[in-house]
């Protein structure tokens, strides 16, 4: 370890005697997993989490009633394994499920987990003053009752294939005794949020903003202690710093390798890479409505044929190759290949520049004044493509599209916006086009919110481009209501065919997430929706230990400052 060696060198140089502190203190535990990450978590309350970092941490700290299997089968309960609930019973009409809480389950503060914690979690999620997007996803759950302290019964409005998934996946259970007295509107800023208490196999130790978040093994956990002693997220302010910390061995794991980093990782014999099937897709989304007046169609993108022509002018395969090398496939629509309901051979609008040009000609968009940009009735064929400045890959794809469309006589202004600003514009539907990305959930049903009419009309809906097609909606609804996998797939295929031909977006890339890890780690399989899901099963063999593995389990022995966040 270059890092430790260097500390020692400096110690010799400075003649310091107390330098050996960390090395002399050895404890018998499973070692430390240090993860490089690019930012702080936003909030450590499961229902409010929006950043991927916070998702990783809360998944370690809190438990769900049951865990989804690696195959991400969401139909009924076949793919699920018991977690906080040790077993469950379906009612004969399948309109309710009674979950039995594992009697050994305890919160990290020692209190027992009871059914009323489950009810409290559901009710607080539905509380509008908390304002969580999860509420919209579990609308089919009517209520949760508690016949006894060990049983929580979920009641559903309709019997649908994914009701078990809705009840378990969306809601990690939080402790009622901690949160009960605090108004949900103030949870985010509360002290309790700074020291989360859960029932998961890791417990919270500290969150030093812009530096690190540390969890430690819950050695007395009802599911057994995890194999690792500690998990620390080393927070770097930018991609390069995070990557370099991984390359130099300061951390063991980096989740977001890009194609150009692979050769660098290969130069280090102790480092490995691993790709897995992801659940995200990226696309250039058109606004079909006039940004200034949503009642009117967009002056350019309101026209389906024009959208098709523009799609035709973009060489998606080349863009994906250029931006990702082999670490992504061209996207095939508003979906990902990992879903069992997705047909990977969906018909696409092909790349055909000459045809795109003649199509634009026939639509009346011609370059009469010879400036290289087409125009119609005095309006140039020009639009702004917004892209989050923090995502270098997406910026790259935007500049590539800019040049390709220039060749078709379309002028694109790339506008790099920062994420919160971009999100705000999307929410207000105030944009021409945006280079967007969706990280989807294990259920393909999320497409209802992101591309369906409901998601367009509701102010909080995610269908920012206002694509509205009754045909598409009907196919999606039929698919989600069917229990037979083959029928589901065929309905989804029809839905995807419809939207692809309507071209409300240019489907760009389906990234293949690639992680880098130190060979000293023994990892478990990486789950598509959450590579971190099996961290409690990861381990570091005794002969691969380095000094940082020997830090004792629990909080630091002599904290310089009170651990955790000191903000109000």
């Amino acid at each position: 370890m270059a890092t430790m060696k260097h500390i020692r060198l400096l110690c010799v140089f400075l003649g310091l005697t107390a330098c050996t502190g960390s090395e002399s203190r050895s404890g018998a535990n499973g070692g430390t997993l240090a993860i490089s990450t690019g930012g702080d978590p936003d909030v450590l309350i499961p229902s409010l989490v929006q950043t991927v970092q916070a998702g990783q941490m809360t998944d370690m700290i809190y438990d769900r009633l049951a865990d989804i299997g690696d195959s991400l089968n969401i139909l009924n309960d076949a793919g699920f394994t018991p977690r906080l609930a040790d077993h469950w019973t379906w009612s004969p009409d399948s309109l309710s499920i009674a979950f039995h809480i594992d009697p050994r389950a305890k919160w990290h503060d020692g209190q027992r987990v009871t059914s009323s914690d489950v009810r409290f979690t559901f009710e607080s999620t539905m509380d509008s003053t908390l304002g969580t997007p999860v509420a919209a996803l579990i609308g089919n759950i009517d209520s949760v009752t508690t016949p006894d302290s060990a049983t929580a019964t979920f009641w559903f409005h309709r019997h649908i294939p994914q009701e078990f998934y809705d009840a378990t996946f969306q809601m990690p259970i939080i402790p009622e005794h901690i949160w009960k007295g605090i108004p949900p509107a103030t949870w985010r800023a509360s002290d309790a949020a700074k020291h989360p208490i859960g029932s998961g196999r890791f417990r919270f130790v500290r969150w030093t903003p812009r530096t690190a978040v540390e969890l430690t093994a819950d050695t007395g956990n009802y599911h057994g202690a995890p194999k690792l002693g500690r998990v620390v997220w080393s927070i770097a302010p930018d991609f390069n710093t995070a990557l370099t910390r991984f390359l130099t061995g300061e951390t063991d794991f980096f989740e977001a390798l890009r194609a150009e980093n692979i050769p660098e990782v290969a130069k280090h014999p102790e480092l490995r890479t691993k790709s897995y099937r992801g659940l995200s897709y990226q696309f250039a989304q058109f606004n079909l409505r006039d940004p200034a007046n949503h009642a009117r169609p967009h002056a350019i993108f309101g026209d389906r044929n024009l959208r098709r022509a523009i799609t035709m002018a973009v060489d998606r395969a080349a863009i994906v190759r250029s931006a990702y090398d082999s670490l992504a496939l061209p996207a095939i629509g508003p979906t990902v290949r990992a879903y069992p309901t997705t047909d990977a051979n969906l018909a696409q609008i092909p790349f055909d520049l000459p045809r795109a040009k003649s199509l634009l000609d026939s639509l009346g968009w011609r370059d009469a004044n010879g400036d290289g940009v087409r125009e119609r009735r005095g309006r140039p064929l020009e639009f702004t493509l917004a892209v989050p400045a923090t995502s270098k890959v997406r910026v790259r794809m935007a500049v590539l599209i800019q040049e390709q469309l220039r060749q078709a006589g379309v002028k694109v202004n790339v506008e790099q916006l920062d994420f919160p600003v971009l999100a705000e514009r999307e929410r207000k539907r105030n944009f021409d086009a945006v280079l967007n990305s969706w990280s989807t959930q294990p259920s393909p049903g999320a497409v209802r919110g992101s591309w369906g009419t409901a998601g367009s009309r509701a102010a909080s809906g995610n269908n920012y481009g206002s694509y509205e097609s009754p045909t598409f909606d009907a196919y999606v609804d039929s698919a989600l209501a069917s229990f037979d996998p083959a029928t589901r797939k065929s309905y989804f295929t029809k839905a995807y065919d419809t939207i692809i031909q309507d071209a409300p977006a240019i489907w760009l890339a389906e990234p293949m997430p690639t992680v880098g890890y130190n060979a000293r780690l023994k990892m478990a399989p990486l789950r598509s929706d959450a590579w971190w899901a099996h961290i409690p099963e990861w381990s570091i063999p005794a002969d691969k230990r380095i000094p940082r593995d020997n830090a004792p389990v629990g909080a630091p022995a002599t904290p310089a400052a009170p651990s955790g966040q000191k903000s109000p």
């Binding site: 863009i319 250029s322 800019q402 202004n413």
Partner: protein, 296 residues
């Protein structure tokens, strides 16, 4: 950190016998270092001016986004290619054009504002002068970069024209102080009083004598100013709030490769070298100008 700190020590008003500018220029050219600097700067300026003829490729063209991206320096691409398969040498040449233009135009804005403000303050004197100088003190107390950050975060997505205006509008404070000093000195200079006694109008004298006396501080301020603006623009582009795609400026090219500095080192190194070279020559010339005029 270009050395703008030292304000030029301007000699008190002197009667312009022969053109002060010509005299300074002659002294300047007598120095070998300034001649070398002039030649280097001339080459860079010429390359920028003739960019369409000198650059081997179209700076915005993406000839093959898969096969030709991220190529290290080679004979076909002496400075390598960027992630869009664009030729970095061509972009550096076009970058010279844009960076120098921005530097020059922004400095022109600064000079205009600086001379006008300083002249008004100095000419008015008294209360108005006092207020104007206190305002100037406040502006001088805000580091220029911070002032620009404050402005640019309020007006995101600026066009190049607006960027030039803002760069210019934040660069005149030092000069206007010098100009005011000159005007004040002139007001009380003996020869002015004498000329007045001979019946010449005070205003006419000021205008006639002001300009020649201001030429030296203006030339110095302009030379150093252009250097400073080039560095500032590059810094802002590096922070992502400067020149937009697909235009190329030196800072912008560095920013394009900033997320992969270790692998795409040619994207930081070459534009950076050109920038340092340009700024160095401008600093040499600026200091030489100052020495030439100070010795008078």
């Amino acid at each position: 950190m270009p050395g703008q700190i030292r304000e030029s020590a301007v000699t008190s008003a002197a009667r312009p016998r022969e053109s002060a500018f010509a005299l300074g220029l002659r002294r300047l050219l007598a120095k070998r270092s300034s001649r070398v600097a002039l030649v280097i700067l001339g080459v860079i300026v010429l390359a920028g001016l003739l960019a369409p003829f000198v650059a081997p490729y179209d700076p915005a063209a993406q000839p093959d986004i898969v096969a030709l991206k991220n190529l290290p320096p080679s004979l076909a691409h002496p400075f390598g290619t960027d992630p869009y398969s664009r030729d970095v040498l061509s972009r550096v040449i076009y970058g010279a054009r844009l960076s120098l233009t921005i530097g020059l135009l922004a400095t022109l804005v600064s000079l205009t504002l600086g001379v006008a403000y300083g002249a008004i303050a100095g000419y008015s004197g008294g209360f108005v002068d006092g207020i104007m100088m206190r305002v100037l003190d406040a502006f001088l107390a805000i580091p220029r970069l911070l002032l620009l950050l404050g402005i640019l975060v309020a007006w995101p997505q600026l066009s190049v024209g607006a960027l030039i205006l803002f760069l210019g509008a934040t660069g005149w404070f030092g000069l206007s102080r010098i100009v005011r000093g000159q005007v004040l000195a002139l007001k009380h200079a003996e020869f002015v009083t004498a000329a007045q006694a001979l019946g010449a109008s005070r205003r006419r004298i000021l205008v006639r004598h002001l300009l020649p006396n201001l030429i030296s501080p203006i030339v110095v301020a302009a030379t150093l100013g252009v250097a400073h603006v080039i560095v500032l623009e590059a810094g802002l582009s590096y922070l992502g709030i400067g020149v937009p795609q697909p235009l190329a400026s030196w800072g912008n090219i560095i920013q394009d490769g900033a997320d992969q500095v270790a692998t795409l080192w040619w994207m930081s190194l070459f534009p950076g070298l050109f920038m340092v070279l340009t700024v160095m020559t401008l600093n040499i010339l600026g200091e030489a100008f100052r020495d030439a005029y100070d010795r008078r």
